[in-house]
């Protein structure tokens, strides 16, 4: 099963290598990984998506916690949470298809970031399955380039995951 794991780490050099190294050394896979500093600039927050049965996910959390610069680990998938991912996609737009591509963007509430004579560059934010669906709808028009951030996530409600909580 797919799990989204949030991790708070010391914002120091080499932490990302330690985490990537842990996954490759122990044979776990990373589907996506995104990282940036938090409100406290000494702490970074990392969201990673991985797959595994319960035992594997438990080990992944324990192994992450074992890394010295890791402060806290939370498996968001185990609780009510929200997730969002951002995608930029460059799609072919010919005279005949321009209107259709724009209509699709409207339906999915994607924004047009850039236009050329032969293409549109669109931006969409949403849950991974919405992003997937949008991509499927654009595919017939011809996708020139695509980039996704991988999801970031947090718990629902006032309950939060910070170094204080």
């Amino acid at each position: 099963m797919k799990h989204t794991i949030a991790t708070l780490v010391e914002n120091e050099f080499g932490v990302l290598t330690r985490i990537a190294g842990l996954f490759s050394a122990r044979g776990y896979n990373i589907e996506s990984l995104s990282v940036a500093p938090t409100l406290d600039p000494t702490v970074s927050r990392l969201t990673l998506v991985t797959r595994g049965d319960d035992a594997v996910i438990e080990q992944i959390q324990k192994q992450l916690n074992k890394l010295i610069p890791v402060i806290k680990v939370d498996d968001l998938t185990r609780r009510e949470h929200m997730e969002r991912e951002l995608m930029l996609v460059k799609v072919k737009a010919s005279e005949h298809t321009r209107a259709e591509v724009l209509r699709m963007a409207e339906v999915f509430r994607a924004d047009v970031v850039d236009v050329s004579e032969t293409s549109y560059s669109l931006e969409i934010t949403g849950k991974a399955d919405k992003v997937d669906a949008f991509l499927r709808m654009l595919e017939p028009h011809g996708i020139l380039e695509m980039v996704r951030t991988g999801p970031v996530g947090m718990r629902r409600g006032a309950d939060s995951f910070t170094i204080e909580t």
């Binding site: 780490v9 010391e10 050099f13 080499g14 290598t17 330690r18 190294g21 050394a25 035992a55 438990e58 080990q59 324990k62 192994q63 916690n65 074992k66 010295i68 610069p69 890791v70 402060i71 170094i163």
Partner: protein
């Protein structure tokens, strides 16, 4: 900051605060002094010259010059295990650091507290493929518990403090601190952090009271209990006393892993010997047949469990470990307790006192009757005829007899290591040094030197094979220089014995490259280093020669025992088999 500016500032401050500004190298020495370091195992080189220059001037600790950096780490490891303190090593950049990697990985697998300092090229050259540059932090990341690169001299004292803290707290392990040459030369105010706290590293030491209660209930309800303990009991220094108390109070049988030998005495009737691939029949059968397995400071290693699906498959498993990631990693555990072994053992003992309940005496009696039936197979039996070649087992047994089981024993890796584990017989913890996890040939001699420095008056014997000993034989020179009279007992069968055994059993006796054609004359080799050397070819000479060797205390001794070539280590659980499918001989 340009150096001239730094020195100007230095002059200004010197008026009110003399001596407070130190170089990185001086900070290094000062920090080690405050950590109570007694010995440092090292090898100089270009990028550690500023540090060596300060070591030249200090009398706070002694430097042991090894002959290869791998040996520096093994020496620190041996010293740490015997002294209970953190082992310290110092190596130069590039090849110094790469040579140290095996020793670091060894300490990591066996959870031995060590801090290794490595020199690094100056910060402005890092990444330039400079002379003797290696990405040491990158290379050692997966061979250490943690590592640091110090880029500013201001961070040095705090980093060294953190390194010792991480190495010795929680599950112990090796930590590396990489110090560029310009950092050890630069100066700053010396500010030693007396207290150290890391928000990201707070190991749990006390067991959860609810889990302690569940564990004692399970232990008291057991009809066929079995205790299985490992290196955690050895590294949580005071815990073997508590373990012995628990074993005697409950009357439960107990087995140790390779790393856990000596936790209870080999003479204790509760002790069933080692378990696992070359464990005793009784230990493996009892683990397979128990209904409650109490695992303490052990990690369910594949050499212990055999086929995991069948490991203690009918048992409620209790697991005490300081490392949460060890729990349910290989075998699913029913009652996990995260905490320091010593602390949890005291908690278990006081919980047992509180409940006043006793184990089921009747069930235990039946269980012990079954166990003694298994014991009657006498699985470690061997026969030494005085006319035949020397049996390797006989040498180990004679070493035990002549030292009354009181020596500190280190080993290399292979058959001799297993015979030493099976047959030497340890009465106390911290007498047994072996490379359990990584299985590093070449570990035993440098570890013995470290052990001898930690325990100067004791007899230290490296039980070795003729192949393993050659991996760090150059350390005889170190042993000689520091007058550590270690004894090396080579069980010389001409083969890499364990490789040959596997080739015999699983590869149709095709002894591919496991035979050493051109062995040195070990007696002459010993003499070349200034050590004493003996060659022993007859069983009748084994005992007397050991006595002669034990009497030599002014230099190291090599005893080269010509043992029968094709002796195998039994019992043996073939790879992939369950513990109760062992081959007895």
């Amino acid at each position: 900051m340009p150096l001239y500016l730094a020195s100007m500032q230095n002059d200004k401050r010197a008026v009110c605060k003399p001596m407070s500004k130190l170089s990185g190298a001086q900070i290094f020495v000062e920090c080690l002094k405050r950590e109570g370091v007694e010995y440092i195992f090292g090898y100089p080189g270009g990028s550690v010259l500023p540090i060596y220059d300060e070591i030249f001037k200090t009398s706070h600790f002694k430097h042991v010059l090894v002959r290869h950096e791998q040996a520096a780490l093994h020496g620190a490891n041996g010293y740490a295990r015997i002294s209970g303190k953190c082992g310290v090593a110092l190596v130069t950049s590039g090849p110094g650091a790469t040579n140290a990697v095996t020793g670091l990985a060894d300490s990591y697998m066996d959870s031995i507290p060590t801090v290794c300092f490595s020199g690094q090229v100056p910060t402005h050259l890092i990444g330039n493929d400079a002379f003797q540059e290696a990405d040491t932090v990158g290379l050692t990341r997966s061979a250490t518990k943690h590592n640091f690169l110090v880029k500013n001299v201001e961070d040095l004292a705090r980093t060294i403090r953190q390194a010792f803290f991480v190495a010795t707290n929680g599950r112990p392990g090796p930590v590396l601190v990489d110090i560029p040459k310009d950092v050890s030369a630069a100066t700053c105010e010396f500010d030693y952090p007396e207290q150290i706290e890391m928000r990201s590293y707070k190991p749990v030491t006390k067991g959860h009271p609810g889990q302690i209660r569940r564990a004692t209930n399970a232990m008291l309800a057991a009809k066929r209990p079995m205790m299985y303990t490992g290196g955690g009991v050895i590294s949580s220094r005071a815990s073997s006393k508590l373990l012995r108390k628990l074993v005697h109070q409950l009357g439960f049988p107990i087995t140790h892993t390779l790393m856990g030998l000596g936790a209870v005495s080999c003479d204790d009737k509760h002790f069933l010997g080692m378990l696992g691939m070359h464990g005793t029949y009784e230990a493996n059968m009892a683990v397979s047949g128990c209904d409650c397995l109490i695992a303490i400071g052990a990690r369910f290693d594949d050499r212990v469990t055999g086929r995991v699906e069948d490991f203690a498959s009918g048992a409620t498993i209790i697991h005490v470990d300081i490392d949460p990631s060890s729990i349910s990693k290989n075998v699913k555990v029913d009652i996990p307790i995260v905490g320091d072994v010593g602390t949890v053992l005291s908690q278990l003992l006081s919980e047992l006192d509180k409940t006043k309940a006793k184990p089921d005496a009747e069930a235990l009696k039946i269980w012990w009757r079954q166990i003694s039936e298994w014991q009657s197979r006498d699985c470690l039996r061997f026969e030494q005829s005085m006319d035949d070649a020397i049996k390797p087992q006989f040498v180990v047994q004679q070493l035990h007899e002549k030292t009354k089981g009181n020596a500190i024993i280190s080993t290399e890796v292979g058959q001799h290591q297993m015979w030493a584990a099976q047959l030497y017989g340890f009465k106390d913890p911290h007498r047994w040094l072996t490379s359990g996890g990584l299985g590093t040939m070449g570990y035993g001699l440098p570890a013995a030197i470290g052990a001898q420095l930690a325990a100067p008056g004791e007899t230290v014997i490296d039980i070795a094979g003729e192949a393993s000993i050659q991996m760090n034989i150059q350390e005889l020179s170190t042993a000689m220089q520091y007058m550590t009279p270690v004894k090396v007992a080579i069980l010389n069968n001409g083969y890499m014995g364990m490789v040959r055994q596997w080739q015999e059993m699983f590869y149709g006796s095709r002894y591919s490259h496991s035979y050493s054609e051109s062995l040195p004359n070990f007696v002459k080799l010993a003499e070349a280093y200034g050590c004493a050397g003996f060659r022993i070819e007859k069983p009748a000479d084994v005992g007397p020669t050991i006595e002669k060797a034990l009497a030599i205390n002014d230099r190291p001794v090599i005893m080269d025992f010509a043992v029968s070539q094709k002796e195998n280590v039994y019992p043996m659980v073939p790879a992939g088999a369950a513990l109760n499918e062992m081959v007895l001989r």
